[in-house]
Amino acid sequence: MLEVKNLHASINNKEILKGINLEIKAGEVHAIMGPNGSGKSTLSAVIAGKEDYEVTAGSIILNGEDLEDLAPEERAHKGVFLSFQYPVEIPGVTVTNFIKTAINESRKAKGLEELPAKDMLKLIREKADLLEIDRKFLSRSLNEGFSGGEKKRNEIFQMAMLEPKLAILDETDSGLDIDALKVVANGVNKLKSKDNAVIVITHYQRLLDYIVPDFVHVLYNGKIVKSGGKELALELEAKGYDWLK
């Protein structure tokens, strides 16, 4: 599904990613771990197409298509979804209106008609129920005044609505207490299927107790320095990152 080949990326002429290679198949869950400043968030932003970063070498191929020249929204239409570490607050736009716009823009891009209001509402309710989201929550302004847990749950709600092929969860566990973590992880697990793939970016092992990865990669100084199975995460938890440097 996703092939990242020799990816180099820089911001303000400072190279952050220094040759990343990663292959992810449909149905897999990959965890990317690493110390602060290793390039984890950069990798997710570059895959999602953030324009501040310049890809200086290498490529990102999604289902055989090079993403290089695609704008973030076009990547989203191809099935890339990035759950933000710090979701942005947008006062005045409700959760419902936001997701409606997102869904319909994506349909428009695929040459489909807008989803009829009735079907949209049904879909929203279905996904909200799946993630145990209170209906009242849907008419609040997007992320405005949301608690850390609510913001992350809202991210997963949007993921559920957009049904991406590749979901990247960037530090979805940060700022969550254990109960919120379970709810969010549970949501992700419900959305997982043999047709989609998930990249979980995290500092800590604890999220991986709930979203169990097939592969764990350690990112350090812009490169993947070690890859392994889920037991690698446990090893990192016990030993830290120093032994890999």
């Binding site: 973030p72 929204e73 947008i90 997701i99 716009t101 997102a102 823009e105």
Partner: protein
């Protein structure tokens, strides 16, 4: 001959041929006004209050002062400028002349009619003597100019204890029958005790010819009365507007003036509130969304003179391309006005490098037991918010529009007429160049 000379020399002819049987009181008001205008002339950028708005390019035009051709327009040509989804009283003026066949007036529960009739009929003499030109007087030379040439406009007189179910729509059309026309509508609105009225006002040029409108509106809000006033400014690029609106409020009254500026060449809004009693609420809301070389100058004044009153002012601006905005918000809290709550907020977004905003909050507080605040921001669109939305599949242009919508949303939320809210929302979407699938 420059425009000032032309106006001054036309005055006598205007007074003589007026044809209106105005009483001597109005005559002397007009005479006094033209003398004041002659003394002061048009404001220049040397005047502190006109530092950021130059009238100079406008004054070069050879304006026709008294249109000779009467252009007949049909309802189907103007329908789209009305909020048609609601029943309302309508007052339509075409090149400064009242169009009775396009309008819907009343003398039943209240008077919704034209100023020319109020100025000439004995039954309105007392109201005219009590109110006409009492707040506009000696205010600025442009208002004086309007007063001198007072001929036509809106007269609304709501007796006490009357809640008007229908809003009143006022539209001043110019047809282009003259190449360059100067219009000076004059409105007098008196709202009796405990009464409630909603008014929507608009100026619209139907041609590509040049129009300059110098409008003056005096609004008197008596005890416990409520006035909601909406100004839609979405005119063509050859249309300029100098609007002076003066509001005088008695105790426990609530007056709100909402200004939506989306188009026009040069627009200057002088909006002034004067308090004549306690427990008054004044609301001033505005949103400007400009592009091209449009210029909008919002000059506001709230004069707190009595204790226990409040004012809430919220102006937002979105400036694209080479547009310019001015916000000058003055709040005076006089010594007697203890326990005043006065809040002012002005937020601006600059979209393109060529756009400019000059923001100037002015607070003059002479009382010591008051709550006053003001905040002024000038910023750009939040790049991280744009990326966030794009990453969810919303294209950049739509994402920008959505953010700008959200930015202006609290001003739009103030609209109490749902059909008008829909209309304004659509106008905003149109101005932002998007078609959003929902209404905020």
């Amino acid at each position: 001959m420059d425009l000032k000379e032309k106006l001054v020399s036309s005055f006598l002819a205007f007074e003589n041929k007026g044809g209106l049987d105005m009483d001597s009181n109005v005559h002397s008001i007009r005479l006094n006004a033209i003398q004041n205008f002659e003394k002061e002339g048009f404001p220049t950028r040397k005047d502190e209050e006109w530092k950021y708005t130059s009238l100079r390019p406008l004054l070069k035009h050879d304006f026709s002062l008294f249109p000779s051709n009467e252009e007949a327009i049909e309802f189907k040509n103007i329908e789209k400028y009305l909020i048609n989804e609601i029943e309302s009283y309508t007052l339509i003026f075409v090149d400064g002349v009242f169009s009775s066949h396009l309008s819907s007036t009343t003398h039943d529960e209240c008077d919704v009619c034209v100023l020319s009739s109020a100025l000439t009929r004995p039954k309105y003499k007392m109201i005219v003597d009590n109110y006409f030109n009492t707040i506009a007087k000696n205010n600025n030379s442009l208002s004086e100019l309007n007063t001198a040439f007072t001929k036509e406009g809106v007269f609304i007189n709501i007796p006490k204890n009357t809640v008007l179910a229908k809003p009143i729509q006022i539209i001043n059309f110019s047809t282009g029958s003259e190449n360059e026309i100067l219009l000076q509508p004059r409105n007098l609105i008196v709202v009796g005790e405990n009464s409630h009225v909603q008014i929507i006002e608009r100026h619209q040029n139907l041609s590509k010819n040049t129009t300059l409108t110098n409008a003056v509106t005096e609004i008197f809000v008596n005890k416990r009365a409520i006035v909601d006033y909406y100004k839609i400014q979405n005119d063509t690029e050859n249309s300029s507007l100098i609007d002076s609106t003066f509001v005088s409020q008695k105790q426990q009254s609530v007056a709100s003036v909402n200004t939506y500026s989306f188009g026009g060449n040069i627009t200057r809004n002088n909006l002034e509130f004067y308090h004549e009693g306690e427990h008054i609420t004044s609301n001033l809301n505005g949103i400007s969304i400009l592009n091209g070389k449009q210029h909008v100058d919002n000059h506001t004044l709230v004069n707190h003179k009595f204790p226990n009153c409040e004012s809430h002012e919220l102006y937002k601006g979105i400036y694209a391309e080479k547009s310019t905005g001015v916000f000058n918000g003055k709040v005076i809290v006089q010594q007697a006005a203890q326990k005043t709550n006065a809040f002012q907020q002005n937020n601006n977004i600059i979209i393109d490098d060529g756009a400019t905003i000059n923001a100037k909050p002015q607070l003059e507080i002479f009382a010591d037991d008051v709550k006053c605040s003001h905040g002024c921001t000038i910023g750009q669109l939040d790049e991280s918010a744009l990326f966030y939305m794009q990453s969810r599949g919303i294209p950049k242009k739509e994402a920008q529009a959505l953010l700008l919508f959200a930015f202006g949303n609290d001003v739009v939320e103030k609209i109490k007429i749902p059909q008008l809210k829909t209309r304004i929302t659509k106008l905003i979407a149109k101005n932002l160049g998007v078609n959003l699938g929902f209404e905020l």
